[in-house]
Subunit: 203 residues, 2 copies
Amino acid sequence: MGHSKDDKAESHERIVSVAAERIRESGTESPGVAEIMRAAGLTHGGFYKHFTNREELINEAVEHAMRENETDAAQVVSGADDPLAAFADWYVSTAHRDDPAHGCGVAALCTDVPHLGRPAQESYRAQVERYLARLQGLLASDDPDVRSRANVTLSAMVGAVMIARGLGATDRSDELLRDVLEAIQERRLLPPGRHVDGRREPK
Amino acid sequence: MGHSKDDKAESHERIVSVAAERIRESGTESPGVAEIMRAAGLTHGGFYKHFTNREELINEAVEHAMRENETDAAQVVSGADDPLAAFADWYVSTAHRDDPAHGCGVAALCTDVPHLGRPAQESYRAQVERYLARLQGLLASDDPDVRSRANVTLSAMVGAVMIARGLGATDRSDELLRDVLEAIQERRLLPPGRHVDGRREPK
DNA sequence: ATTATCTATAGATCTATAGATAATGC
DNA sequence: ATTATCTATAGATCTATAGATAATGC
C-alpha cells in the first residue's frame, strides 16, 4: 500500500486512463467500477475517495480520451511531406479500426455522448472543433470552402472507421478503409468545378 | 389477456419492433427485458415463452432494425427525379439525426455490433452490402470506380449522421449535415480527373 | 387439454457506503 | 493525526425460472 499524495494523484490518473480505454472499447455503460479499479490495480472500495460517483469518472474519462488522441494526431502530421496524407493514413487505417481503446474518441463515443451529461458533450464538441481546425489547416487555405471540405473529410474519415469496425477485420472492411483513404489523399473530395461565391444558401 | 396463436405472433413482432427502436436509441446493452416488455404492453415474466434468452431477442431486433430501414430507403428513391439526391436528402438530415430509434441501423449500432454474436454481425454486414449495392446503382454506372465511390459516399453519409448526433441539435451539427449533403448531391465526391485503369494498387 | 401471459422470486451483479488497516507527514 | 486503500455489505437492478391464471381450440 502506498498512501502519499503523489500516490493518490498517480492512482487517480491511472483510473481515468484505464477508464478512457475501456469506454472506447465497450461504451460508457459497460465497464463497472470494480472492473475499472481492478484494471488500475486497486480495489473497488477506494473508488469514492477519488470520485463522488461513477458519472464523474466517466466525464473525466471522456475528456481524457478526446485529448489523448489529439496529441497523437499532432505528432503524426509534424514534419510529414504531405501532412494531410499522413493524418489520413494514421486515422483511416486497419490499426485504428482494430484498437478502439487507444483510438479516436469522436468515433468510439459518438453513440454514447447523447446519453451523457453536459461535461461529456462539451468534451466531444471541443474535440470535433479541434479536428475541423486541424483539417482546415491541412486543406488548401486559398479555398473559400475549406470549412465545408473539412466537414466532408472528417465525416468520411469517421464514417469509414465506424463502418469498418462494424464489419470487423474482413477484406470488405479493409477495402472500404483503403478507398476512403485514397479519396482523401488524392484530394478527390475537392469540388471538381471550384465555387467562387463562398458559402452557398442552405436549401 | 389474449391467448391465441395469432396473438402470440403479434406479441412477438411487437416485442422485436419495440426492441429494435430501443437498441438504436440507447444501444444493445441498455434496455432491460422488463422495460422492453413494458413498452410492448406485456409483463416481463412472459418473455421467455418468446425467446430462449435476452441475446436471442437482441439478434432478432438487430436484424429487424436493419431491414426496416432498408424498405424506407427503397420508397424514398423510387420515382425521384434525382434518386441519389433523394437518398442523400433522406439519410443526411436533421430528422434522421434526431430520431435514431427509427433510423439507420448501420449508424446506430456500429459500436455495439463488434461485441455481439455472429447473427448480429451478419445482419450488419448484409445491410452494409445492401447500402453499397444501392449506391452503386445510383452513381453513374459507366464509372469503373463505382464501388470505390459507393464506399466513400456511404462513409461520408454515416460519419456525418454519427458526428451530428454526438454534437446534438446545434448550428454546427446542422452545418455539417448540410455540407455533406451538398457534397453528395453536387457529385463533389467524384474524382476530378477520371481514372480509366479501374481499381488502383493498394499501397 | 393446451398455452400465452402474469405474479412472485431466486441468484447474480452493480453502485455506493461504513468501518478497518496501514502507510504518510506534521 | 491524517488519509489512501482495503474488506464487507446494504440496497437496487437485472436475467431467468417456477407456479398460477385465464383464455383458446380440439
